[in-house]
């Protein structure tokens, strides 16, 4: 037991490429989450409240600023789908899909071009077991869990030169390429709002085609070295740094 626990506690090993492929296949047909609308006042009031609230909370910050206030208001937790705007708005916790859709809606209102992002992230069995118990207790689906991986949703905003910044509404932070525990094994970008002018975008040194899963582990990331010319500069948050 102790050795098993020690194995579990050790830093998550890099998943094998075939495991990542299997995970991508698991969620090949998974659409991105979209909050439903009753086409009645109830949902429209909820939606307009969120957008007006963002107008206040953003303050004078740039339109691209991540709406961290949403995460401040809603804890990350289970949601039962289909989920309507009028139901979601009053909850104390929402899952990544609801948070991502809210965020995408906010960016749309700010006139910032945004895409839905689907991710395969690396976690250990302890995490999966905890989430499974919690989601089942709430009557929510656990389809987003598979051994060693989780399916997660975020959103991206499009910067210059088709470079993306991925905002994780569930943590209130920008996501960069990373391996290990919580690392990103694969990414897929989708255009539910129909705003894309291009088919390919760039993030973290990867070229991402719309609608396709891309494995992202084992990709090169810029490393410093003595008197070495810097490769194409990227910030830790995945976009091309333009100082």
């Amino acid at each position: 037991m102790i050795s098993d626990a020690a194995n579990q506690l050790s830093t998550a090993k890099q998943p094998r490429a075939d495991a990542v492929r299997d995970a991508m296949q698991t969620w090949q047909h998974q659409p991105c989450s979209i909050l439903q609308h009753h086409q009645k006042d109830c949902c429209e009031r909820a939606r307009l409240w969120l957008l007006a609230m963002d107008g206040s909370m953003r303050g004078a910050d740039a339109a691209q600023t991540g709406p961290r206030w949403i995460r401040g208001r809603y804890n990350w937790g289970p949601s039962v789908w289909p989920l309507y705007w009028c139901e979601a708005i009053g909850r104390s916790e929402l899952d990544c899909g609801a948070l991502a859709w809210m965020t995408l809606s906010v960016y749309e209102a700010r006139q910032v071009s945004g895409l839905a992002v689907q991710l395969v992230q690396v976690y250990n069995d302890d995490a999966s077991a905890q989430w499974e118990t919690r989601w089942q207790a709430a009557g929510a689906s656990t389809h987003w869990l598979t051994p060693g991986f989780m399916y997660h949703e975020a959103c991206a905003i499009i910067g210059d030169g088709q470079h993306l910044r991925i905002w994780d509404p569930s943590s209130g932070s920008w996501m960069g390429p990373a391996a290990g525990y919580g690392g990103i094994a694969a990414v897929r970008i989708l255009d539910p709002l129909g705003i894309c002018e291009h088919q390919t975008y760039h993030w973290g040194g990867h070229a991402l085609s719309l609608g396709q899963w891309h494995p992202t582990l084992n990709a090169p990331s810029p490393l410093p070295g003595p008197q070495r010319e810097a490769p194409a500069a990227t910030s830790p948050y995945g976009f091309l740094a333009t100082p």
Binding site: R45, L48, L223, G225, P226, Q227, P243
Partner: protein, 753 residues
């Protein structure tokens, strides 16, 4: 090879000495490293990788010329010196004006050119921005307050070397200014706008103008003091390296350096400061494969450094216990000072070094401003004061002096501006805020100029009626609008704005019963992002739903208004405009969801007079354009200037009762008090002096003198920082200008028997 390193303390605000030693040890395992420090409290003197410790007395005790000679001897004998503190680097640069091949610090010229906040040598060439800043020593308080308002009171007060205090209002700024100028014995502080974003640094090593290497570090974890606790290390883009090389070449820079920057939410880089030394996290760069201290030492010495492997592109810190070196036992803690605690900051006596370098010893009182800048005071102020002198001389002091020309000019300029901007079908109408100063002379000026009157109670409504305003020219706001007796005038008011849902429901009921007569009902919204007790809560979907339901219940024929109100003098002018824009957003949502339209927008806010003139000159036309675009149904925009009109209209006259000369400042007891000037310490007041028997008026600048009030209250001051004329005496006059708003209206009778 022997290397001397300073800045060894590794506490909550660590110095770079240990990180530099670790980096150098990895590259020069056989070198001798001598740690130099100025306090036995420095934790780094116990670090096991140091070969020796050269412990000096604290800086405040050191005989600096003697110490400089010893360092010269060390250098001449072949030792290298890497300084770990900014002040020490500056001192060394002064002691060695020609430099020294083994003194690895920048020159005085380089340090001067890189002095914050301007960092002029770098900012102009590097792809960075510098946040707006203002030097406090060369700016009058009046203009400084204006700068702070323009920066939305989101500022830092910074010292010339260390320490930065976040300030969000005038009393906080004054307190911080007192603290920092006392600590560092200088008035040369500056306020700088806060930049929100993610901290990152570029760290480099250079020798005689040649860039040897550089890395970029992005903070990934911070201490409570915003110091680096973890970070990722990256290459520096060529777009940054190229101008950095040019800057270093121009300055013939030698040593380590760190450009501390903030990457703003808009992705722009803001340069906060240039530290002329390696940063405390320098070993993190070494772990990532770039050993900058080693590059520097290798270049200076000509001895090749052992390459270090790249172990990770990220680093984090942990807390380590190390054994105390027996030769340097831990000193005991000093007795805690009541209310202060142990006060262990700067045990090395850096404050003493700063005092020595500033060339003056003593207390903060000696850190005087050589020539205090004078606040700009328009000629019409002085003209009005001169005209008021004779009657004032016969009056009891303290007493308020009315400045009629100044007062009238404020109302006239406002009406001229709003008439210009009122383009049919949109009318812009100012409403004078009675509560700011209900003096009937001001109400008369307002009425004659064409203002409406803005009231916050039925008492004020009656006052307005008595002063000749028809009911149709009165706007009623506030949570106390029903005070004292809930009896509304029979004639319809211009507008009544509800401050809460119960208030809205009561008004609706009043409309139905006929007890409330008004041309329109409106709602004031409570901003969800700025603390306020006023307005209808909209910060939750449930609260918003309740508002919509209440509006749905209003009779359809009732005209609807929307009200926002926040003092721009308190939150800043940009934040006020942002609040305006967000109010429009809320209003659009309400219109879309209720099917109703607003025909009136009421934009309230305590404006400083200068900001008000700017607003009606420029900002208001932009606001009106937004309104016309997003609210085509609006026919009237109400403005509520109170402070802007009233503040300049009166000055508080007072006499000096007694002058007590302190050690280095005058303490003048005056017959005014906090009861007469309740805003005295909450915002600056321009001060004018008049010697008894003279007609000459002299505008006063900031200084160390105090105006102490007549009351036996520790907080009773009329001014804390004023430069009285050297020959000021009992019986002389002083006028606190800018006292016509809440100073006048909130003054109270106290201590007069």
């Amino acid at each position: 090879m022997t290397v001397y390193l300073t800045g060894l303390h590794s506490g909550t605000n660590p110095q770079p000495g240990l990180g530099t030693v670790r980096s150098l040890r990895a590259a020069f395992p056989d070198a001798r490293f001598v740690g130099v420090d100025y306090s036995p409290r420095s934790s780094g003197i116990h670090w096991p990788e140091l070969d020796d410790i050269w412990l000096q007395r604290p800086w405040e005790e050191l005989n600096l010329p003697v110490f400089a000679k010893r360092i010269a001897g060390v250098l001449d004998e072949g030792g290298y010196w890497i300084a770990g503190t900014d002040l020490e680097s500056r001192w060394l640069a002064q002691q060695f004006p020609e430099g020294h091949p083994r003194l690895l610090v920048p020159s005085s010229a380089a340090l001067q050119a890189l002095q914050k906040p301007a960092v002029s040598a770098a900012a102009a060439q590097l792809p960075v921005h510098v946040a707006p800043y203002l030097a406090t020593a060369t700016t009058a308080d009046w203009e400084l307050h204006a700068f702070c308002r323009a920066q939305d009171w989101d500022l830092w007060l910074k010292g010339p070397y260390y320490d930065a205090v976040r300030v969000r209002n005038w009393p906080a700024l004054e307190g911080a200014r007192q603290l920092l100028s006392g600590l560092w014995n200088t008035e040369e502080l500056f306020v700088q706008r806060h930049v929100e974003g993610y901290e990152e640094s570029v760290c480099f090593a250079a020798y005689e103008g040649e860039l040897l290497g550089a890395v970029r570090m992005c903070k990934r974890d911070l201490t409570d003091l915003s110091k680096t606790w973890a970070g990722t290390v990256h290459a520096v883009p060529e777009s940054f390296l190229k101008p950095l090389r040019a800057v270093l070449r121009n300055l013939r820079y030698t040593g380590g350096g760190e450009l501390e920057m903030m990457r703003g939410m808009d992705d722009r880089l803001w340069l906060l400061e240039w530290n002329p030394r390696f940063p405390a996290w320098i070993y993190g760069a070494t772990l990532a494969g770039t050993n900058l201290p080693a590059l520097l030492l290798a270049r200076a010495s000509g001895i090749a450094a052992r390459p270090v492997p790249q172990r990770s592109t990220s680093f984090t810190r942990v807390v380590l216990e190390v054994p105390v070196q027996p030769a340097y036992p831990l000193p005991p803690l000093p007795e805690p000072l009541p209310g202060v605690g142990f006060a262990l900051k700067h045990p090395s006596g850096l404050l003493g070094l700063a005092k020595s370098m500033h060339g003056a010893a003593g207390t903060a009182a000696t850190a005087t401003i050589a020539e205090p800048p004078l606040p700009a005071l328009p000629q019409d102020y002085l003209t009005d004061l001169e005209a008021a002198m004779q009657p004032v001389a016969e009056c009891e002091t303290p007493g308020f002096v009315f400045l009629p020309a100044v007062a009238a000019a404020g109302f006239q300029k406002t009406m001229e501006a709003v008439r210009r901007l009122s383009v049919p079908p949109l009318a812009v109408t100012p409403a004078y805020s009675i509560k700011t100063n209900p003096d009937e002379r001001l109400l008369a000026l307002a009425r004659e100029a064409g203002f409406l009157a803005e009231a916050i109670s039925l008492s004020e409504v009656r006052k307005a009626l008595q002063c000749g305003f028809p009911a149709s020219s009165i706007v009623l706001n506030g949570p106390g609008k029903w005070y004292p007796d809930s009896r509304f005038p029979k004639e319809p008011l211009h507008a009544v704005f509800a401050d809460s849902l119960p208030d809205l429901q009561r008004l609706a009921e009043g409309l139905r019963s006929g007890g409330v007569q008004t041309q329109r009902i409106g709602i004031r919204l409570q901003p969800p992002h700025i603390p306020s007790r006023f307005g209808i809560n909209i910060a939750s979907p449930e609260a918003f739903e309740a508002l919509l339901t209440a509006l749905d219940a209003l009779p359809q024929e009732v005209s609807l208004g929307l009200h926002m109100h926040m003092a721009s003098s308190a939150i800043g002018t940009s934040r006020w405009m942002q609040l305006f824009e967000s109010t429009l957003h809320w209003g659009r949502s309400v219109e879309a969801l209720t099917g109703r339209s607003f025909d009136c927008l009421d934009l309230g806010g305590g404006w400083a007079p200068a900001d008000w003139l700017d607003f009606i000159g420029k900002g208001l036309s932009q606001a009106l354009a937004s309104i016309q675009t997003h609210f085509p149904s609006v026919r009237q925009v109400l403005l509520e200037p109170g402070k802007a009109m009233a503040e300049p209209s009166m000055a508080l006259a007072m006499r000096i009762l007694e002058i007590r000369s302190g050690q280095r400042r005058a303490e003048a007891v005056v017959d005014a008090s906090v009861a007469d000037l309740p805003m005295g310490l909450l915002q600056p007041h321009r001060m004018v002096y008049q010697a008894a028997g003279s007609r000459r008026l002299q505008v006063l600048g900031r200084g160390n003198d105090q105006l102490q009030g007549r009351l036996c209250m520790e907080h009773d001051f009329a001014a804390l920082h004023v430069a009285l004329p050297p020959d000021a005496k009992a019986g002389d006059w002083l006028y606190a200008c800018d006292a016509g708003a809440y100073d006048k209206s909130m003054a109270y009778d106290f201590g007069r028997g």
